[in-house]
Structures are given as C-alpha cells and as structure tokens.
C-alpha cells in the first residue's frame, strides 16, 4: 500500500481507504448496503473516536482545495455519516428497517463525486 494515502497522523486508518474513501453518496450507500452489520460496526469503531481530531485537521484547509490525502480522509468521514445510523440506531441492520425500497429513491446529487451541495452546477440534472 502506498504510504501517502492519508495524512501522516492518520496512516493507521489506511486499511479502511479502499472500501470506504468513496467520492459519491451513491457509492457510500451501495457499499453500506453491501456490508454486514459486523463490517459496519468495525468501520464505525475505527472512525468514531477520531472524528474531532480529523475535523480539526481538515478544517485548517480550504474545503474545495483539499490535498488528495485529506480529501480521502473527508470521504472516510462522510462514510461514517452514512454508516452511523445503522450502528447507532438500526441495531446493525445495513438497510433502513421498515423502509421504502432504497434503490428506487433517486438522489439527484448521488453520483456526483466530491459533491459539496452545488446541485445546480451538476450536468444532466433532471428537472
């Protein structure tokens, strides 16, 4: 594994990069659904105690100009946001319990890599 996947102080999280440093919400959702409860819990446990430190590190840099290692670290945090309800609220169920078919729910921003909320700038956005 390359040694600069993540910033130096977060190298210990590099084993999670391959599966969870995902650029779009759709990828994060798909990976979460394809995981077991145990996999979600393991990832959650690895990240949850690091949240404040990671954010302090990232907040020192402009959001739209993060170097690649920092960008991957942010993607890990966004995966934590995706995974957390399943660990904290849904008893490890990788899907939302008692819910509509997630696959039919279209997120207009879902496939956009690095999406920070600028929906109207996306190409091929439906009406």
């Amino acid at each position: 594994m390359s040694s600069d996947l993540l910033p130096a102080s977060y190298r210990h999280l590099e084993p999670w990069v391959d599966r969870w440093a995902l650029a779009s919400q759709a990828e994060r959702e798909t990976t979460r659904r394809a995981s077991t409860g145990a996999q979600l819990k393991a990832f959650y446990d690895a990240l949850v105690g690091e949240g404040d430190g990671i954010v302090a590190h990232l907040n020192a840099l402009p959001l739209d100009q993060l170097p690649a290692p920092e960008q991957r670290l942010l993607y890990l945090m966004l995966s934590l946001a995706e995974v957390a309800p399943h660990v904290e609220l849904y008893r490890g169920d990788p899907r939302v319990p008692f819910s509509f078919e997630e696959e039919r729910f279209i997120a207009e921003h879902g496939a956009a890599p690095g999406f920070n909320g600028d929906l109207y700038a996306l190409p091929n956005r439906p009406a």
Partner: protein, 396 residues
Amino acid sequence: MNKPVASRWAQQFPQLGTDPVPVDALLSAEYFQREKEKLFKRTWLKLARVEELPQSGSWKLKPLPIWDSSIILVRGEDGQIRGFHNTCSHRGNRVIWAEDGHGKDRRFSCHFHGWTYNLKGELVHVPQEEEFFDSFCKPDNGLAPVAVEVWEGFIFAHLDPQPAVSLKDYLGEAATRLEGFPYGQMTAVYAYRTVLNCNWKIAQDAFSEAYHVTTIHAGSFPEGFSAKLYEVQLFGPHRTSAVYMDDKGPTPTPVAALSHRLGTTSIAKRGTRVALPPGVNPTRSPNFAFELSVMFPNFLVHIMDGLYFTHQFHPLSVDQTLWEGIQYFPPPQNAGERFSQEYGQVLQRNAWLEDTATMEATHAALKSGAKKVMHLQDQEVLLRHHYQAVDEYVNS
C-alpha cells in the same frame, strides 16, 4: 422556555368537523379528473428556485402531467423569468427535445423544421417563411406562455397566462408570515425523488402530521419529537403548524453529537441560531423543531434553525405520484460543516425512506374497497383541512 400548550383543534376549527373522511377521493378516477381540471389547472404551482436559473438563457424543462404539458422556465436577457409550453407554434413538436432537464441557450430551435424562438418566447426565424400564407403572422406565433411569479426565490407558475389572482394574493398570509427567512443563502442543495404508486394525497398526508413519528420513525428518530402539532393556523386553502421536540430529549448518539457540534445539521438538533420570522416559533423555544407549512395544493415548506426543506407531490395519475424532497443548507465553509450536513441529510433521507414505506401498500389496500372511510384524530387536523380544501375546488 418550553414549547407552547397543545390545543384541541376541533374546538378551534369547528368548520372542519369531526366525521370520518371518505377514501373515495383517493381512488376515484372521476374525482382525479376533477382535481386536474378544477384544482391543479386553476392554481399556482411551485416549479423551481431562482438559483436553478442563474444566468440569462438558463432554462429548466419541467414535465407536468397534471397540466397535460411540459413547461419551459427560462431567464431572459432582461433577467426576468418566463414560462412557456414546450410546444412549437408550427405543428406542435417539442421545442426542447428532452423530456426534462436543464440547460443554457440563446435561442430555442425546433428540431422538426427549424422554427426558432428567443428567450422571450418570440418567434424570430421561420425557414422558407415566404412559402407561408397571409393567414400566418409571425409576431402572433410565439411560444404559448404560462404565468410566472416568484415568492422568496420560489418560482411558481399558473396555467392561465393571465390568472385572476396573483401569486401574492393567492398565497396571502401563508406566505407573508414565512418571509425574511434566508432562503437565498441556503444554496447547498440535496434533492431526492421517486415515483410512488399511490394517490398524491396519500403521499402528502404522511408529511402533514406528527402522530406517525413514534411508530414509523422508531428507527431514525426513536425519541425526541412530540407527536402533537402546535400553532396550527389555516389561511384559506393553505395551512401551517409547528413541530416541537419533547422537553426531555434523547441523549444524542456519538456521531449525532459530533455532527451537532460541527454545524447546521439535522431536524433533531436544538437551539436557535438563525433569525426565524416573528410568527414562527414565536416564544423562541429551544424545543422548536420546524415549521410545517403547506402551500396549497401540493408544496410543503419546512423552515427551521439553519436549514429548510421542501416536499412536493406531483400527481401523475390517480394512483401515481412524483415525490420530490429537497434539503437546503448554507454552503459548507469547511470539512466539519460538510460532515455535519452529510449526517443531517442522510438521517433525513432515511426518515423519508421510512415515511414513504407505507404509501403504496396503503393505496393498494384501499383499492380493495374493504374500508370506505379513514378516522382522523385531532392531531391530524391538517389532513382534515386538506381534504376539505381539495373538495371545495373539486366541487366548485
């Protein structure tokens, strides 16, 4: 200060009655046809935000089966936003080829015979114009307009190009009491949509009461929200209410707490940091969650501390509805705010997945004819008012 005391709405609004509500309005094709002709074709409908049309030539094409049409919204060189049917004046082909979408153009040119329109909808070029006859007058053959007016950055349209009632008069106090909220600054947008196999009112009903929260949201919001509505007000066919948290809220989970520390997050976060209009959360209670306002017939606006979200229910047929749920945040200034928004909007998405879980099964079950009415309790007052308001249009 804690949340206000809940009222007994049936006493406050005796005109709504207390009888069970017939379900025929959800199932009857004949009733739906009257909704289409007498309600949807005669009221203002929200179609977009001004931020969607940032520049001269920016356009959005919105299919509206309830109008039997697709509407082009376009910003002109003069900055004004106009609306037109997507129909060429020659032989009726689509002027914009796509079925929906957005773009930026200086002209609209029909792909059939090349008739070309400017951003004001005026017909500016007809190939072989000299072959047409005296009965053809170019200035009379622009794109067919609809009326367009803007309230707080929300673009509404009316099928009648010269409607009897302006948007401002139509929305009345339901809109003025929500003015001044910084909608235009909340430009980080997360939008979800799906086609639901149910009547549009079944879909909209699920977002019009808090009675369901403790059961359907046992997953995403296991505690915290009051199941009652507060500050219900009716404004003609429009209505509003407030949703509050219980006095003793839950202890946030670790990631929820992190998200709350870092920024504007979810509807489950307490505390006021933005100036709400004076009529919204009038006591400035920290337990205030969000305002639930319905702009009749099908547009819901929820404003709250630091973000807002909307729902819209586009009827496609008597038993099919396009639902759109959109969350609007201030643009994140750093990674912490970005994380906070992601957590808040993912949790909200999951709650919407819970909300939409019952709708298709409800519609299918009602089609059996097994139940002729639904029993609404006092806290479902907004539904009762909705059915009555629809009925008044349909029977007008």
